[in-house]
Amino acid sequence: MKRKSELVVPLLFLAAAPLVVYSVQRVFLHTPNERTMGTAFKIFFFHVPMGWLCMLMAVISGVAAYVQLRRRSRTAAAVALAAAEVGFLGGLGVMLTGPIWGHATWGTPWTGDARQVTTALLWLVIAAYLLLRHFGQHASERLAAALAIFGAVNVPLIYYAVKLWKTTHPTTGVVAKLPPEMWATFWPGLSALLLVSFGLFAIRARQLVLVGELDDAYVRLEDSRA
């Protein structure tokens, strides 16, 4: 018999499936074009949820890394890595869609404003974390945890630093206030993305925990043979 926790992932995906179909058709067929940006504005419905997902996963990873350092918990280590991987994918989506949107509306893919630079640097920290977890030697998990915590601490600092830095540069582009029907399209899309992401996150975290348990079993087997 399956454990209850194993039902979580299928349930997440089941809940996400109709939402994905609904929000995609709503974005392209039933949401009016934005007045100044036109069709290019549709990318908003993909770009912003992915940005939020990236931030959310970075925070989850940072908190899990802290727990991992304090309690020496392997589950927390698995959660931190899984969250960072999903956050990395979200960030990749942001870094790909952002310049496309910027090119269409501002005429330039990169204006270097505080939010852009902060997101890009956060994404770099997540990438560094993944590199360290995958290629670092066996004891680097705790170092990676420190990196995740530092990454989380850095986000407000970077934002502030870039704002200071930008005082010597002109700023461009402000996203206008959104009408309610746009938000009505936005929320189902965000929910769909979050459900799918948490499903993937749960699968990966569970897989990582299993890897740890398998290692333990291997060591026990060797011990019993010796």
Partner: protein, 259 residues
């Protein structure tokens, strides 16, 4: 009690710092390699950017300064902890009856000193190579404060990660990979402040104060995380590590590894 503990920490830090410096003074390895590297980078920058007009060097000089600090800092930190690993003294240091925080303070202190020696070449070098850097001569005190604060912030983070990487097999390529994204805020603050210095901005003291505040935050986080990171990085305790040890032992014994 708290006061006593603080005095003890300070004494231990000074003791360890003195031992670091003594070790360095024996062969000057870190100072010589780092200053030579600084000169090489300066030379490369000169060859690349000597043709720039003054108005273009103004935004370039802060970047050149802090990029060099970032590069030199990485090689200094790598080498400082490589030395510990080669002699297997990091473990001895951890086993010694000293506060772990004192180890952090001593390592950060010695690295900071090496970086400052490099900056003593770097800043005059930039000042004489690029017309925009003339301000460094005109405002020596502010320049010194800026360099010390910038290097301190960099070292506060760098020591933590270099120490963490020094524990195991030593994949130092990773140090640059993780250090540059994490040190961006401090380098960015330093860039902004340097720019303000070059512009003779009246708000310069406020910028310097913000850098000092950032340094305090970074030192705090570094000190807080140093022990958990380093103690975890020393002896292998995880199952994965145990498995690796076992495999190596099996291989050494010439037995077939089970699948």
């Amino acid at each position: 009690m708290l006061h006593l503990a603080r005095v003890r920490l300070l004494r231990q830090s000074l003791l360890l710092l003195r031992s670091e410096l003594r070790q360095e003074l024996r062969d000057l390895e870190l100072v010589l390699t780092s200053t030579f590297f600084t000169l090489v980078v300066l030379g490369m920058f000169y060859l690349s950017f000597a043709a720039l007009e003054k108005k273009h060097t103004l935004p370039a000089v802060p970047g050149l300064l802090w990029l060099t600090v970032a590069f030199v800092g990485t090689i200094t930190l790598t080498r400082a902890f490589d030395r510990e690993r080669e002699a297997d003294t990091l473990r001895a240091l951890l086993a010694a009856p000293v506060e772990r925080l004192a180890i952090y303070v001593a390592k950060a202190g010695s690295t900071l000193l090496v970086l400052l020696v490099c900056c003593a070449l770097l800043v005059p070098g930039l000042a004489s190579m690029f017309p925009a850097g003339q301000v460094f001569w005109d405002m020596p005190l502010e320049t010194a404060a800026l360099v010390v604060l910038g290097c301190l912030g960099y070292v506060a983070i760098g020591t933590l990660f270099a120490a963490g990487l020094a524990g195991g097999g030593g994949k130092n390529m990773l140090l640059a990979v993780i250090l540059y994204p994490v040190t961006t805020p401090v380098l960015m603050f330093a860039l902004v402040t340097t720019r303000a210095l070059l512009d003779k901005n009246p708000n310069l003291p406020s910028y310097l104060g913000q850098m000092a505040a950032l340094d305090v935050i970074l030192l705090g986080v570094g000190a807080l995380l140093f022990e958990p990171v380093l103690v975890g990085a020393a002896p292998a305790r995880s199952a994965q590590a145990a498995r690796q040890h076992r495999r190596e032992a099996l291989r050494a014994a010439g037995r077939q590894e089970p699948r």
